[in-house]
Amino acid sequence: MNEDDLLKDMTRAIVEGDRDAAEALAKKAVALNLDLHEVVEKGYIPGIQKVGDLWERGDYFLPELITSAECMKAAMAVLRPALERARLADISQGRIVIGTIEGDIHDIGKNLVASMLAANGFEVTDLGADVKLERFVQSAQDVKADFICLSALLTTTMLGQRRFMDLLKERGLRPQFKVLVGGAPVNQKWADSIGADGYAENALAAVKLVKSLGRKR
């Protein structure tokens, strides 16, 4: 089997949500001493991008999206140690702190965004649900995050996103992070009104948004 076929199989494994294949192919790539950077960029990433396209066309829905993200995670778990050994660790697209804001315990949507971002090569710190504003700030500083993503599923808790923006400004930390907001009641208008850096409607849009905003450094 030549390398091109291997890369195509990787893409297919992600698109079809075949976790065992995704994992086995990653192991094979390591064993064959392939250029792992290329494996990620040309094998796996195109897979998750195809999944995104299928989602946008309406062919794929949440279960397919999550399955593919999990395949991606399984493959990356195999590749990451090898990449680090080869001092090629910096495949990270950027660092992200994400969580559902205080008072809100809903987190499926947030989980989905987190796994899609991770599948697309971002280093994601997921703080979970009902996260105090202070914890977002602390964690973002600790991991030197590029992005802070705030999720809110209720119109009531959505107001916490505005309070978070105010908190950042008070502390003089606003320029250090890009803040993105999301959640069922949130829209672009709201994001603009509270001075957030962006809004995404779903997990795929979030990936695109984060990529378009780029790293701060």
Binding site: G58, F61, P63, I66, E102, I105, H106, D107, D130, T155
Partner: protein, 586 residues
Amino acid sequence: MNPTLKIFPQGGSIQVQKNILLIDALQEAGVNLISFCHKQGLCGKCFVEILRGKQPKPDIREKELLARKRLPGNFRLACLYRITKDLAVRIPEAARLSLMPVLKHGYRRTILPDPAVRKIVFAPSRPDLASPLSLSDQVRAYFPGLGKRASPDLLKNLAVHLDDPSGKATAIVYDGTEILDFEAADTAEQNFGLAIDIGTTTLAAELVNLNTGKTIDDATALNGQARFGADVISRITTVFQDPLKSEALRTAVLDSLKTMIEGMLEKHRIPARHVYEAAVAGNTAMNHLFLGSPVKTLAVSPYHAVFSALPPLPASETGLLMNQRGKVYVAPNIKSFVGGDIAAGLAAIDLAEQKGDFLFIDLGTNGEIVLKKGRQFTATSTAAGPAFEGMNISHGMLAVPGAVYKAEYADGLKLMTIGNRPALGICGTGLIDLISLFLERGVISPQGHITGREKKIGVRPNLFLTQKDVREVQLAAAAIKTGIRLLLGLHKLAVADLDGIYVAGAFGNYLNIPNSMRLGLLPRLARKKIIFVGNSSLAGAKALLVSRRERIRCERLAQKIRHVSLATDAAFQKTFIEALKFGAWT
């Protein structure tokens, strides 16, 4: 030796305890008599004929009532008669209290009316030189135990009524402990109440004769609060951002209710002052907004309510169109997302008394699910979203005339619309039928993917379903399915273990069971085990209106129901994602 009581015309005899009241002995034998005055010997409704046995001398009031009703001398009030020896009685048909059916269809259950409001007619004598008894003394003599609480304000009112040519007045007694008001003349027959269901989208009310428990009329309307937001959370947010809006929301629902109540009262020529009690059932947020209570805590974790069970409130404090000295009873809330509407629904079907394991599901924007396992009750709620109310669906609409409510496949697609009108859109039940049919025919895959090249399924030239519409239905059905699965799992129950599933909500009888099962909205279970109960919140409100016993039982049940939060369940996400796939399940 215990005395024997023979009851005619049905025949049969029972042994009774010595010194028991005849009315109580009859009740034990299953013969229920009308009593407006709560067995005080005041209303004269429970006269029975003594065929054989002791005939004690009637007391002065009983004598007066006998004369007024022109009854023969062998009639006695069953509420004053104590049985000491063998006795045979005949029950006049007019004295019998008939059982009230609780639900209109689906599940047969009757309750015995036992309203809190009773009207007692009496004849106060005009104070004159020969009998200088003050009004308050007269009231005290007439209503021992109650008279002391007759306020000067009430007595003033009574004094005004003394001019009535009939020489009679009527006292409105609440729960046997409080005189609400006095009225001129004999108004005993004019005793009305309101059962009210405050739905987030729709309001429903019944005008009820409190003496008999019979419904006189009913009305529905849209909840006027809708202009502050379609769903519960957005209305709470309105108040959250501007606490002054609380009053605007309260007024909005009161205005809608006023129109409904006025309509019913005018049609039957009943003045509002003859409506003495209302029983209200709504979800926790609706109950709070109706009373103007703060709602901030309802929508922020840990999501707690200001009140659960409340004592009957003075009508004047609620603003409902009715006698302002009357009372308003609010069905007890179970938790912030499982409210008085569910407590009332459980009362309507008397779930607590049923033997076995049951599910009760209220299908709405917020799907509430209650599991009864043996004597244990657990409730949860699941955000189904408004798809089944036709919202967020390209051609979705409420179940109003012109809505496709049913679809079949027989030589082509056949659609049935409400009112047989040309199809304007699709309501919840129609949506379920359509998706199920398309699923069966492979037009939609089990993953919810529209298989044709065009991501649109035409139903009629101007009516279609899009891929997004199918996704909305997947999400709604998955939410309900996840709730059922997790609740059953928590109690280690399988679907097959269930003795029945009660399905409440606006769908009523129109929900097609095989289609719902094919979709996966309901688990696969024998057809006869699925029982539609329609608007059980309204039925429950009526039960709570006409029976004090039902209130006590409902409050007791509401207190013992355990609430579980799905969103914090570790298995929630996995179960939900799996549940998105269409298909029958058990």
